[in-house]
């Protein structure tokens, strides 16, 4: 799948793909320039990227991990109640600092729901380094909704914190988000519409 983001006032394409071990090596090399290192989210993002790599490797040893849409479907068709780990990446070959600019670690539960374990955007983008990139975080959330729709998953859910609740509330157009969020029904449909109509996403 792919969608569009805004880079320095112009549209650029990014790809939404499944990740693998090799990609995690790239993510663990995410770095922030000194100019943005003091930004509140940057250090957390870097540390999370490092931990994400470790966590995903653990998943690879303990539960099924899908590295493509077809792979995911084949795992689920073989074992209907399988827990499946997936790493969804936002790829941009035009971004100088890294070819991966966003990631979401997700897990398919035995009842075919999608849990967002965490979601992260490149520290350079979070810190507002130039060129300014907009749309990676929101596009990723809407892209996950689209992915869930394609895989006929009725629910995407996750935990929210004091830091992340305002982002989810705005993105999901909810009046208030407490410590959890559920994307389903009309909200899921709206997120998928946003992906296609506002981010010009293509499957």
């Amino acid at each position: 799948m792919r969608f569009q983001v805004v880079v320095g006032g112009k549209r650029r394409h990014v790809k939404l793909t499944f990740g693998s071990e090799h990609d995690l090596r790239l993510v663990s090399r995410w770095r922030a320039t000194a100019a943005i290192a003091a930004h509140a989210g940057v250090r957390d993002t870097l540390e999370f990227a490092r931990l994400a790599s470790k966590r995903w490797r653990y998943y690879r040893r303990s539960i099924a991990t899908a590295t493509s849409l077809q792979h995911f479907k084949s795992i689920v068709s073989r074992e209907g109640q399988a827990e499946v780990s997936i790493l969804v990446l936002v790829r941009a070959d035009w971004f100088a600092r890294s070819s991966i600019i966003g990631l979401a670690q997700c897990r398919r539960t035995y009842c075919h729901h999608l849990i967002v374990e965490f979601l992260s955007v490149h520290p350079g983008i979070v810190g507002g380094a130039l060129p300014r990139v907009r749309g990676v975080g929101s596009g990723l959330v809407y892209g996950l909704a689209e992915l869930a729709g394609i895989l006929e998953m009725p629910v995407v859910w996750g935990e929210a914190t004091a830091n992340s609740a305002p982002f989810y509330a705005k993105t999901l157009n909810a009046r208030k988000i407490s410590d959890h969020f559920f994307i389903r029904g009309a909200v899921l449909a709206r997120c998928r519409r946003n992906f296609r109509q506002k981010f010009f996403g293509e499957t």
């Binding site: 983001v5 957390d44 999370f48 967002v116 749309g135 929210a160 982002f167």
Partner: protein, 84 residues
């Protein structure tokens, strides 16, 4: 649709990113995430946390201090010359 309109649409739909904290999701900070899954935090991040906590406590000077020198000068790692 014009290029400007398409850019405006994406910008508008990305307004939530003004409040994007960098990392989202379950266990939204590295400390709780690491604790839950038994993963070690990096030394540099721990140093960063010490500074952050010290600042929160209103004592930024105590963020990281070398061991007090009350026990005398640090031991030299170089081997002493052996007298014949």
């Amino acid at each position: 649709m014009s290029e400007a309109e398409m850019v405006r649409r994406i910008e508008k739909a990305s307004e939530a990113e003004d409040v994007l904290p960098g990392v989202l999701g379950m266990l939204g900070n590295p400390v709780t995430f690491a604790a839950r899954w038994g993963l070690p935090l990096s030394k540099s991040y721990l140093k960063h946390l010490r500074k952050r906590v010290a600042k929160t406590n209103g004592n930024p000077g105590s963020a990281h201090r070398r061991r007090a020198s009350s026990k005398g000068p640090p031991n030299s790692r170089t081997r002493k010359a052996v007298k014949d």
